[in-house]
């Protein structure tokens, strides 16, 4: 129990991840599926970010007044890239959804099964 409490940030990420996965698998609306995907992405980002936390760490900017300990900048760099990737995925998915709506007049996957 204590281990869960000290790693509360990891536990939160896992819960978020599962919520996202649930939305993708269960929700029929394509937009909701995409939202689930975004929740999953956020969970992974939060997880990697929290791995880079240094207690009382300062922003790692060198210059006058800089004093260790510093937060690890690499996970932040990675996640910044990850966010860009997630953004382009969402943009592409949204434009696909628009095209699907224009073509079939619905974005409920239950109704879309029929057209295949």
């Amino acid at each position: 129990m204590r281990a869960l409490w000290t790693n509360i940030d990891y536990v939160a990420s896992v819960i978020l991840f599962l919520i996202g996965l649930y939305a993708i698998m269960v929700k029929g609306n394509l937009i909701k599926k995409l939202m689930g995907l975004n929740i999953m992405e956020t969970a992974v980002f939060a997880f990697v970010m929290s791995a880079g936390i240094v207690t009382d760490g300062d922003a790692p900017i060198m210059g006058a007044g800089a004093k260790p300990p510093f937060a690890n900048p690499l996970p932040q760099g990675l996640i910044l890239t990850g966010i860009v990737v997630a953004l382009s995925t969402s943009a592409l998915a949204l434009s696909l959804i628009i095209r699907i709506y224009r073509q079939y007049g619905t974005i409920e996957s239950d109704d879309l099964w029929g057209v295949e």
Binding site: L34, E41, V44, V48, L74, L78, V85, T89, L96, R99
Partner: protein, 494 residues
């Protein structure tokens, strides 16, 4: 370091070329294809130089901006990176095929975007093959996947957008699980460099590493369409424009396998835990993929759908070879990556030419096309014989090696599965060839169509020739793969 910058050319050139394509071709969309072909010729040249260098001098590295790892990003060119050879070959031929195909199959204003996306996808794959950094691996994977999703949707035909959306959701989940694994590895070891990672993983606790390995396996098997995770593949591969199908089926799914090989490279070096559970899982999933993929393919009417299911079946062979974890098994799997890419590109481009000329996709409608388009049909026949694995074609060699690997690992059952799989595959390709050559045409006017334009015919013929030649000169891919596999399986310090 003479010529050391060539790996950068591989990645940067197609990316810049892709960004420029829509600008250059704004007024005259037709020049986009020639521009893309020109850009990719430079890349192919660089690939040739690099492959020559790796075969004479062995693996080498390039450090971006001169920063050495662990601070800098390393581009590492080893024998597995030699897969850029097949990426460039098939990429170049598919671009050539696209010149005439795109004019016919796509609205004019989309043509520049089509070529830009193909270049992006190929550039991403080259980057994936040569990078030595696991985060870069993820970035390149995303570049090639995102352009792949867009390419599936680009025709706007029937269910293209739906297929692309399904592909996107599955692909995005798999990418996330790979990113999660990268995060795990970094949190555990504090490094992203593959060589460094293998060294440091030996000192960490095995359990979190096992979670990361699980996430990586999940991610890469979605990309490679291993059986329970294959549901996105048939629609996406059959609805995409045919040259794109050739790229997706021949190369993009192989990227997942290449990712697995990279992971195994690290794990074998680190030797932190027993891999037999993972290997057994992959072996079984591979065997199930072979049989079910072939069974699904048997009942398809649409020719491209059939080829798409056949890809699933062949991916099964590759995973089975990997899972056997014996030297011959892994060699067979790696050779099959190359050979299946050639064979499937032949088949998809051939099918593309048939559909382009006749306008039909179903086997029943395509009856008698063997007389109308003899060269294309012959190329498809060579591809079919090759994929079944009849000697002396390309497919024989890898299946032989995988069977040897199964015997070497003492798993006779899997050798038998492999033979049965080949039998099933034989059945549905016979069905296809029977329709082409021996059945009376369902539509008499099909006998009047001629061969496809010459720019479409050349890639098909070249690939079909290679399918034959690779069986006879099978030592060429083997000369790259054998040392790589021996190296991979050798314990560190040994």
């Amino acid at each position: 370091m003479g010529g050391g910058q060539w790996p950068v050319v591989l990645i940067i050139t197609p990316l810049i070329g892709a960004a420029l394509t829509p600008i250059l071709a704004r007024r005259r969309p037709q020049i986009a294809g020639y521009w893309a072909l020109f850009v990719f010729s430079i890349v192919t040249l660089a690939a040739g130089v690099l492959m020559y260098r790796v075969s004479t001098q062995g693996p080498f590295s390039y450090y971006m901006g001169g920063w050495r790892p662990p601070l800098g990003i390393e581009l590492r060119f080893d024998e597995f990176s030699a897969s850029i050879g097949v990426i460039c070959l098939i990429g170049w031929l598919s671009l050539m095929f696209s010149l005439a195909y795109a004019k016919h199959a796509l609205p004019e204003r989309r043509i520049p975007y089509y070529f830009a996306l193909v270049l992006l996808c190929l550039g991403g794959m080259n980057g994936f093959a040569v990078t030595g950094d696991i985060f870069n691996l993820f970035v390149f994977l995303e570049i090639l996947s995102l352009s792949g999703y867009a390419l599936v949707a680009i025709t706007g035909e029937r269910i293209a957008e739906l297929a692309a959306f399904k592909y996107l959701v599955m692909g995005a989940i798999s990418s996330l699980s790979i990113l999660l694994a990268v995060g795990f590895m970094y949190a555990l070891t504090g490094t992203l460099n593959m060589t460094d990672l293998a060294m440091r993983l030996r000192d960490v606790e095995p359990f979190p590493v096992a979670v990361a390995v699980g996430a990586l396996t999940l991610g890469f098997s979605v990309k490679a369409a291993l059986l329970p995770l294959h549901i996105w593949l048939p629609d996406a591969h059959s609805i995409a424009p045919s040259p794109v199908s050739a790229i997706l089926s021949g190369l993009v799914v192989k990227i997942g396998v290449l990712g697995m090989l990279r992971m195994y490279q690290i794990l074998y070096k680190a030797q932190i835990f027993d891999l037999s559970a993972l290997n057994t899982t992959l072996m079984w999933l591979g065997a199930i993929s072979i049989v079910l993929g072939a069974l699904f393919a048997m009942v398809q009417e649409d020719i491209k759908m059939m080829l798409a299911y056949s890809t699933i079946s062949n991916i099964g062979y590759i995973f089975m070879g990997l899972g056997l974890a014996s030297k011959y098994g892994i060699i067979g799997a790696s050779v099959h990556i190359f050979n299946h890419a050639l064979i499937k590109a032949t088949l998809f481009l051939g099918a593309g030419a048939l559909i382009h000329q006749t306008g039909y996709r179903n086997l029943e409608d395509l009856r008698g096309v063997g007389k109308a388009m003899p060269i294309t049909s012959a190329a498809i026949a060579i591809g079919a014989i090759s994929i079944v694995g009849i000697p002396p074609t390309a497919g024989f060699l890898c299946k032989w090696y995988i069977a040897l690997g199964a015997i070497e690992a003492g798993r006779l059952f899997f050798a038998v599965t492999l033979l049965f799989g080949a039998l099933f595959i034989f059945v549905y390709y016979i069905r296809m060839l029977n329709a082409f050559y021996f059945m009376p045409p369902a539509h008499p006017e099909i006998l009047d169509v001629g061969e496809a334009p010459v720019t479409m015919l050349i890639p098909i013929v070249v690939l079909a020739m290679l399918c034959l030649l690779m069986g006879i000169f099978g030592r060429i891919p083997l000369s790259f793969i054998e040392p790589a596999v021996t190296n991979m399986l050798a314990p560190i310090g040994g």
